[in-house]
Amino acid sequence: MTTGQRSTDLSLGTATSWWRRLLLFARRLFSSPTSAIGATITLLFILVAILGPFIAPYGANEIIASDARQPPSSTHWFGTDNLGRDVFSRVLLGAGEILLLAGLGTLLAVIAGTLLGLLAGYRGGIFDEVIMRVFDSLLALPALLLALLLLGTVGRSQNSVLIVIFVVYTPIVARVVRSVVLAVKSQGFVEAARLIGESQAYILLREIMPSVLPTLSVESALRFSYAIFLVASLGFLGVGVQPPSPNWGLMVKEARTYASQIPWAIIFPAAAISIVVIGINLLADGMKRVLQATGNE
């Protein structure tokens, strides 16, 4: 092999090796039935969220007056609610909103939590002490209570739900990241980086961050599933997203009064919530297993 060929191989090598690592990760994930189910459910719901507006047979708030309170049938797969809205369409259309709100909220919490966790763990001292004590006091309150408190002050809207997710989950992510940083920062390679005068940002992002990533990705998946549950719960309590939005929690709340007459209007949105939360949890478990096995190699 000539040198020229060798270098092309190498430049390709990095690209293919990422692709191969991803494939290897996927293959290992699908090797266990539970995590395969989890991954499939999660992918399916993301697909529904994206394609929902195109495949839903009716609009979210389209009232078919003649067909109110219909049981599931070939025209209305999940039946209709007491106002005559198609439950199947509403579940499909609701997926986008709930995944987007929960996803965006989790993303913000993960970014802020990671930065604060990295800094608190690495710098220590007063900075760490102040941040962690504030987070402790936030964590002392049950998540839902904290959410109700916040919504009472910032008002009820989609943006407030985002803020709630952000405030509730940032401390949790920060604590997890900080614990990994504490274990890594006394290792020789971090001290070696300090000894060649690397900046704090470089040490945090290039030296420490790779060790945090496996734990962080599992934690993010878990937070995402809890965030979905939180959005649905707030909808159910009537303090989050407001009607007539097709929020799954809100749908359960609205149909609750007529539970004995139109049980399908409760069962289907409730099932959607549980299935997606269980699916993402299974996926997170699988990711943890695969990442630990890879780490041990």
Binding site: G13, G188, F189, E191, A192, L195, I196, G197, P210, S211
Partner: protein, 697 residues
């Protein structure tokens, strides 16, 4: 039966043990035979991965799910251990066979008093009533020379030191009068002075006992000091088996010869001799070459070595797994590995001012004040890790800093590097004062000052390739472009004798010795004036250690750097250093040239250290000077001379109250921190010759 009519206690016959790895079985022990007679201490030596642990686990029938015994037999007197079921084995464990493990603390129940644990063993194994068991356990604690057995019996394991815990375990293992005692690296985690006491204890306790002892270790010095017979294992095979005296005076297998040559002897210096190394590395389990397992690393391999040699009886009661043992014995060939270059010529320093000057350095760590102290407005307590140390390193020279754990040697290194702040004193690099904090030091200062860490696994980022780790100091400290840096990485890899394709690998795919080479390459990358090495070889196997020490000396003379070399191993330090400072409890005790280290007068602490080192020469079994007790907690710093609480030459009042003077010996140039006049010390201490085994050259 052997010729003395003794039946062996343990008789292992052609034992093969394998582990399941995926679909294949890999042999971790291959056709090993050995016999241990009653009252015999049998040493089993090997580097990590040689299969010695698997062998003892097989004897204990404790291999785990993935391990299995493929063939062979293990006889304990008349019982075939391989035919026993688990219930029957349970009766053997703890009674007929007992084990003293490497890590004593994890083998003791942390929530039970020591006396109760011993009594429980006695009750369970010998059926003693609780009163009698209690009485007997205190007798045993006394027999293993614990200073106050009654008190120790009432303590919990964490309240006593590692050396004392190991003595408790020895008592526990011996109290049932076992037929076979297995000692698995019992002193590897202990300091050298503590180790000497334990070895002495083992020697004495076993003296008139019928128990057969299997002593597993990687330390040739320990073997020479305690064992009657030695077997050497290499890559799953037993390669040589001989009486200790014979093995050390004339090894008949090239691997044994290589192991003995790899050890720096006390008195060797890098200017007088280059350490011989064994080329290559130990093959992974199941990956050895066909034929003789050592063939690919052997300096005298010939065609016949492609067939596997049996364990050949070589003279009376010894055997070697080498086709050419008789030629080695007759001396017609030499199995000594050639050292790969001649004497290193070292230029005289062209700059007289010291590279590093440390003056009255103190590093104290304050402890949080207790509530009582806060109320009484007392000052908080401090850990006095380093308590007034002077060091000076001249250009292109090496200062060796020796001390046991807790002596403050690592803290000095970290203070010099700026990783901990100093409390008092000054540190000057090239006559300019070094700022305390790393962030206040300029890039150029950082370039001049680099460090190699003790644990090679943690020293490299597991997520960055070796090349990326090496490139970083070049980009930052030398301002090279990416292309220049890549070229320099290739040169560095070559300098530390690693193949260049390793640059693309992640640290997880490298062995400990290879990782340490990368770490050394990274430290030398910026061409530093001063390199601090904190125990760079203590976690490595003997043969790897020799190669790394040679590499460090070579790079030092290429780069003209000064070194601060920190170690607990006097032999290693005296090999690499031009000057040795002995430190105890944050204070220097003695400063000496390595060549004069063995000549009296010594500081009493150095004397104890020297006497405690197990020499790899069975003819030099010395009665060590025992140090009583443990190194004191640096919070309760003893006044006067810090060594007075353990000093075997304690004078009285003056040692406990007054700081000793630095005395300078005119003849040897040694500086000694002691109240005893040098003339008197010299008379007390017999002249220690620098011990070199008879077989060398």
């Amino acid at each position: 039966m052997d010729k003395f009519g003794n039946a062996p206690i343990l008789d292992i016959n052609q034992l093969t043990v394998a582990y399941q790895h995926g679909d294949v079985w890999l042999e971790a022990v291959r056709e090993v035979s050995l016999r241990i007679n009653s009252g015999e201490i049998y040493g089993l030596v090997g580097e990590s991965g040689s299969g010695k642990t698997t062998l003892i686990m097989a004897v204990m029938r404790y291999l785990g799910e993935k391990g299995g015994i493929c063939s062979g037999e293990i006889l304990l007197q008349d019982t075939n251990l391989l035919e026993l079921n688990e219930a029957e084995m349970r009766k053997v464990w703890g009674k007929a066979i007992t084990l003293v493990p490497q890590n004593p603390l994890s083998s003791l129940n942390p929530s039970m008093r020591i006396g109760d644990q011993l009594a429980e063993t006695l009750h369970h194994q010998l059926g003693l009533e609780s009163g009698a068991a209690r009485q007997r356990s205190i007798e045993w604690l006394d027999r293993v020379r614990l200073p106050d057995p009654e008190r120790t019996a009432n303590q919990y394991p964490h309240q006593i030191s590692g050396g004392m815990q190991q003595r408790v375990l020895i008592a526990m293992a011996l109290c049932t009068e076992p037929q076979l005692l297995v000692l698995d690296e019992p002193t590897s985690n202990l300091d050298v002075t503590t180790q000497a006491v334990i070895l002495d204890l083992i020697n004495d306790l076993m003296h008139d006992r019928d128990t057969a002892v299997l002593y597993v270790t990687h330390n040739l010095g320990v073997v020479a000091q305690v064992c009657d017979r030695v077997a050497v294992m290499y890559a799953s095979e037993l390669v040589e088996d001989a009486a200790t005296q014979d093995l050390f005076s004339k090894p008949l297998h090239p691997y044994t010869q290589g192991l003995i040559d790899s050890l720096p002897q006390l008195g060797d210096t890098k200017d007088s001799i280059q350490l011989r190394t064994i080329r290559g590395q130990i093959p992974a389990i199941g990956k050895g070459p066909p034929g003789c397992i050592f063939r690919t690393r052997c300096p005298i391999a010939i065609e016949i070595c492609e067939t596997r040699p049996p364990l050949i009886p070589a003279g009376k009661s010894r055997s070697s797994r080498c086709h050419r043992w008789s030629e080695i014995e007759e001396g017609t060939i030499s199995a000594k590995q050639l050292s790969h270059n001649g004497e290193s010529q070292r230029s005289s320093p062209f700059r007289e001012s010291p590279t590093l000057e440390v003056d009255e350095l103190k590093v104290h760590f304050p402890l949080r004040r207790s509530f009582g102290e806060w109320v009484r407005r007392e000052p908080g307590k401090k850990v006095r890790a380093v308590d007034g140390v002077d060091l000076e390193i001249t250009p292109n020279r090496t200062l060796g800093l020796v001390g046991e754990s807790g002596s403050g040697k690592t803290t000095i290194a970290r203070a010099v590097m700026g990783l901990v702040g100093k409390s008092e004193g000054s540190i000057d690099l090239l006559t300019l004062p070094l700022p305390d904090k790393l962030s206040q030091r300029e890039l150029e200062t950082l370039r001049l000052l680099q460090m190699v860490f003790q644990n090679p696994e943690g020293a490299l980022n597991p997520y960055l390739t070796v090349g990326e780790s090496l490139r970083r100091p070049l980009l930052r400290l030398l301002n090279l472009s990416k292309i220049e840096a890549d070229a320099k990485v290739a040169t560095l890899m070559q300098a530390v004798q690693l193949p260049h394709e390793y640059a693309e690998r992640l640290p997880g795919h490298l062995s400990g010795g290879e990782l340490q080479r990368v770490a050394i390459a990274r430290a030398f990358a910026s061409n530093p004036e001063l390199l601090v090495l904190d125990e760079p070889v203590s976690s490595l196997d003997v043969s790897v250690q020799a190669a790394i020490l040679n590499l460090i000396s070579e790079l030092q003379s290429d780069h003209q750097s000064s070194l601060l070399f920190i170690s607990h191993d006097l032999a290693v330090v005296s090999y690499v250093a031009d000057q040795i400072s002995v430190i105890y409890l944050g204070t220097l005790m003695e400063v000496s040239e390595p060549g004069e280290l063995f000549n009296a007068p010594h500081h009493p602490y150095t004397e104890a250290l020297l006497a405690a080192i197990p020499l790899p020469d069975p003819s030099l079994r010395s009665a060590p000077i025992h140090l009583q007790g443990d190194i004191p907690n640096p919070v309760d710093h003893p006044g006067g001379c810090p060594f007075h609480t353990r000093c075997p030459r304690y004078l009285g009042e003056i040692c406990a109250t007054q700081s000793p003077p630095w005395q300078i010996d005119d003849k040897t140039g040694k500086r000694i921190y002691c109240h005893i006049p040098l003339e008197e010390l010299k008379e007390l201490q017999f002249e220690m010759k620098s011990p070199r085994p008879a077989n060398t050259d």
